[in-house]
């Protein structure tokens, strides 16, 4: 075990970033043209990075597995993006955004990174507006803000319920502009399947052309992984169907440490699972909790009657309802943080009081809001959300309460990176949700978009220069170098193996089985016993997968089942690491709740022993991973117990 160097610059918190920028090495324009950068992923992080690096003069190659960079999963973010603009004059500041993010993350994030994030958040809004992102405005024509996720200030910028879409389209426009100018070469429908290392440094990737099945070798002086989160390890999540861990996992296997893999965010307001056929879960915006009241019946009998359709929610009298969030957390009530609201829903359902046939669902009731404000006001407030819910469930939330249940939404864990966003492999960077950096053990609403764009627009353009300045004498390495051949062969062998098994179970079968294990034992509540059991189950599942999976088709064609199989294989390996990490962390913090470590139902952190980032080193599929700790140093804030009672 070693300690990790996070390379946080010296000096007072507020000046660290300026200090860094002033001292980082630069690359002159003529040299930039000779340097090639590979950007994998074109979500907010990838698109903004690729565009900005190309603007600076680097030769960029960008990759995404969708048919267009515009379709990255960032497009689905609804709520908004935080920025410490203080346009509302309500007392916001860079420091406050920094503090809220650290506290929201349950004191498991780095001070230096988070402060930088809060600081550049303001530039992000300027940049996006200049690109023509249609943020909501007030009647004076100035930008509007709302309060989001229980924040005490209004610092969230939004574009209706489509903020992620609009931000991504802004970045996509910037990216396409560089494509048009010839500075970025875009590879859509390409999937990165291996990282190529030469002399210990990241020097390229093996990517598969998903249309033809061909494997391609690409060289880069540096490789940026902006490949998003791994929530799909749970099979059902609010992530897009294609979201995966493959790129990050390949880097991990090549030596990049994986940070805090067990930190997952489970969002409390999603549409419950209704059947086995279900392919994904849909998020209903958190803002619904502003007016909706969460409840289940007080008695199991009533709950059973509702599940069986013998009673309707209206039949349950006011005094027979348990508004459990209001009961448990009188001061925050329905607006308590995501992890807490999710866990409370699970408790109620585990208690046998769930109200959907599967048993896993609670009511989100707008009855009182409608009485108080009238149907029209409520309808206007949640404009697109109600019709969306009705379309999916065929029930009108204005007439009968919504049914919701928590679902996996975001992964705070990811590739370990230092202050420069470099992983433990020199020249390999991770940006956006793919890295572990800024959200600690729990992410605040509207902060992921901020982080993705901060990384891409404002951090990497500076930090990459510090590395590339020493690479200006490295000529492009021809891709017939043995390291490329070896990497390509490894991919080929693995693919052939997948195709040759011709077993009985489909890829989705395995994915669902993995999801069940993860959700059951590594979801909202975790125990040492359960995790130990889960690890064994996952190991067995992996063996079964490699002996009984049925992947149709061939390698030389458009073959989505094959692509899926590769991703599921990686998810299985990742799942085991998550379990190992969760087992190691003998405390409860943020999204990681260990049943053994609680104080009357509330998470109990152990700052003494676990105030560190767990960065795991890969040692082989069948070997135990090795833990490296990065101590979290708090020089500017006092650690506290999060309380929302």
């Amino acid at each position: 075990m070693s300690t990790l160097n996070s390379k946080i610059p010296p000096g007072p918190l507020a000046e660290k970033w300026s200090y860094y920028k002033e001292h980082a090495k630069l690359v002159n324009p003529a040299n930039k043209r000779k340097l090639e950068v590979i950007v994998v992923g074109t979500g907010l992080a990838g698109a903004s990075a690729a565009a900005t690096l190309a603007e600076l003069g680097y030769q960029v190659k960008a990759f995404c597995f969708q048919d267009s960079p515009r379709r990255a999963h960032s497009i689905a973010a609804q709520g908004g993006i935080n920025a410490a603009k203080n346009y509302k004059n309500d007392g916001d500041s860079v420091y406050r955004l920094f503090y809220d993010t650290i506290k929201g993350g349950d004191f498991r994030a780095r001070e230096g990174n988070v402060y930088r994030l809060a600081d550049v958040s303001r530039n992000i809004i300027d940049q996006c507006v200049a690109q023509g992102v249609p943020f909501a405005r007030d009647y004076g024509g100035l930008l509007d803000n709302r309060s989001f996720g229980g924040a005490q200030v209004s610092r969230t910028f939004y574009a209706r319920g489509q903020t992620g879409q609009q931000l991504l389209l802004g970045a996509y426009g910037a990216l396409e502009r560089q494509v048009g100018l010839g500075n970025v070469k875009m590879y859509s429908r390409h999937e990165m399947l291996e990282l190529v290392k030469i002399d210990g440094k990241a020097r390229g990737i093996i990517a598969k052309n998903l249309v033809t099945g061909e494997l391609e070798r690409h060289f880069g002086h540096a490789v940026l992984l902006c490949t998003g989160g791994y929530g799909n390890v749970f099979f059902l999540s609010t992530n897009a169907m294609g979201s995966n861990v493959t790129a990050a996992w390949k880097a991990h296997k090549q030596g990049a440490y994986f940070g805090n893999p067990c930190y997952t965010q489970i969002h409390p307001t999603c549409i419950p699972v209704t059947g086995d056929y279900q392919s994904k879960l849909t998020l209903m915006s958190e803002s619904l909790r502003n007016d909706g009241r969460v409840w289940v019946p007080k008695t199991k009998e009533d709950a059973k009657a509702i599940r069986e359709g013998k009673k309707k929610p209206e039949d349950i009298k006011e005094e027979d309802r348990d508004y459990y969030l209001e009961r448990k957390y009188p001061s925050f009530g329905n607006l308590c943080p995501r992890d807490i609201a999710s866990r409370a829903a699970k408790e109620a359902c585990d208690d046998g009081r769930g109200i959907v046939p599967s048993g896993f669902g609670v009511f989100l009731d707008f009855g009182d809001a409608i009485k108080r404000l009238g149907v029209e006001v409520v309808k206007a407030r949640y404009g697109e959300l109600f019709p969306m819910y009705q379309n999916i469930t065929n029930e009108d939330p204005l007439k009968t309460p919504m049914k919701i249940y928590p679902a996996v939404h975001y992964t705070m864990g990811g590739l370990w990176v230092d202050y420069e966003l470099m992983t433990s492999i020199p020249g390999c960077y991770a940006l956006g949700e793919a890295n572990f950096s800024d959200h600690g053990a729990n992410r605040l609403g509207a902060s992921a978009l901020m982080q993705g764009l901060a990384d891409g627009y404002f951090v990497i353009p500076y930090t990459i220069g510090n590395y590339l300045s020493s690479e200006i004498f490295t000529k492009s390495i021809p891709t017939d170098h043995p390291a490329f051949a070896e990497a390509e062969n490894a991919v080929k062998e693995r693919t052939q193996k997948l195709l040759s098994i011709k077993g009985k179970r489909t890829v989705d079968d395995f994915h669902k089985a993995l999801g069940k294990i993860m959700w059951e034992y590594c979801g909202m509540a975790r125990t040492a016993e359960g995790l130990t059991k889960a690890r064994k189950m996952i190991q067995d599942l992996r063996k079964e997968f490699w002996s009984d999976v049925n992947v149709p088709g061939t390698i030389n064609e458009f073959n989505p089942e094959l692509d899926k199989a590769g991703r599921v294989a990686d998810f299985i390996e990742l799942g085991e690491l998550m379990v190992v990490d969760a087992l190691n962390r003998n405390e409860s913090c943020g999204g990681h709740f260990r049943v053994e470590y609680q104080d009357q139902g509330e998470a109990k952190r152990d700052d003494e022993n676990y105030r560190y980032v767990a960065a795991w080193e890969f040692k082989g599929v069948d070997a135990d991973p090795v833990l490296h700790k990065e101590d979290l140093v708090y020089e500017n804030i006092q650690l506290q117990v999060r309380s929302y009672k």
Binding site: D67, S68, Q131, G141, R177, A240, P461, G553
Partner: protein, 248 residues
């Protein structure tokens, strides 16, 4: 529920392709259309047949990836919904359902129901942006925008680039898509400096890609899952004509 499906199967771009019949049973009315296809694919894989290839990703109506021409309509019979947001309750038990890919010269078929829509990316690359490098922006509130304009711009910006407009248009025209981007930027002060060149470059690229010409039929507007309006096309026409007739 039970359905008879007639699905377009085409091995690759060069293959002729044909409609193939499938029957599928035990379909739940609350399934989405894509989940129904998942179930069918699961059966096909188990039988050792090639599953149906189709594009999809977010499955919540925002990424624009899903794209099926269902029973003669782009994204199927439901108004203002993408294929992934179409539920089986929109069909009657026993229905025969046709499933075809988008059909347009500019969207060649890759496999089965998957088409190549990269023409849209090239149109955006021709001018669908504001030329501002990172770091060049002034304060976000330095340029106020009238709320009504901001709302109209947002209406246009809601386009998900799915291509249903092209698929539904009898002329295979892409004007709704192109005009949505031109309109969004034309409504903002930030978009003014490049307003003329943008309109000309994007229209020229659109023509180069082999899309058809608009004859104001309106099928695009009727089938657009995001309800993008024809007024955007008028605005584009105006901008393009003004740009090419007046500018030097």
């Amino acid at each position: 529920m039970k359905f008879n499906l007639k699905v377009w199967r085409q091995k690759n771009a060069k293959d002729q392709g044909k409609l193939v019949d499938y029957t599928i049973d035990n379909i739940n009315a609350d399934m989405s259309f894509l989940e129904m296809v998942d179930v069918l694919n699961d059966e096909l894989v188990r039988k050792g047949e090639d599953p149906i290839a189709f594009d999809h990703d977010c499955r919540e109506g925002i990424c624009g990836m899903c794209s099926m021409y269902i029973s003669g309509r782009a994204h199927g019979p439901q108004h203002a919904a993408t294929t992934c947001q179409l539920y089986m309750r929109s069909f009657k038990d026993g229905d025969t359902i046709y499933v075809e890919p988008w059909r347009a010269k500019a969207f060649p078929v890759i496999k089965d129901l998957v088409t190549d829509r990269s023409a849209f990316d090239r149109i955006i690359a021709a001018g669908g942006f504001v030329s501002v490098n990172t770091g060049q922006a002034q304060d976000a509130n330095a340029l106020p925008v009238e709320k009504a304009d901001a709302e109209k711009a947002m209406d246009a910006a809601a386009c998900i680039g799915c291509g249903a407009c092209v698929a539904a248009c009898p002329n295979g025209a892409a004007m709704l898509f192109v005009s949505a981007k031109i309109s969004q930027l034309a409504l903002f002060p930030q978009g003014q400096p490049e307003r003329n060149t943008r309109a000309i470059n994007m229209v020229n690229q659109m023509d180069e890609e082999g899309f058809g010409n608009c004859t104001n039929i309106g099928a695009c507007e009727a089938e657009c899952p995001k309800e993008i309006k024809l007024t955007n096309i008028a605005r584009m026409n105006r901008d393009y004509l003004a740009a090419s007739l007046i500018s030097e």
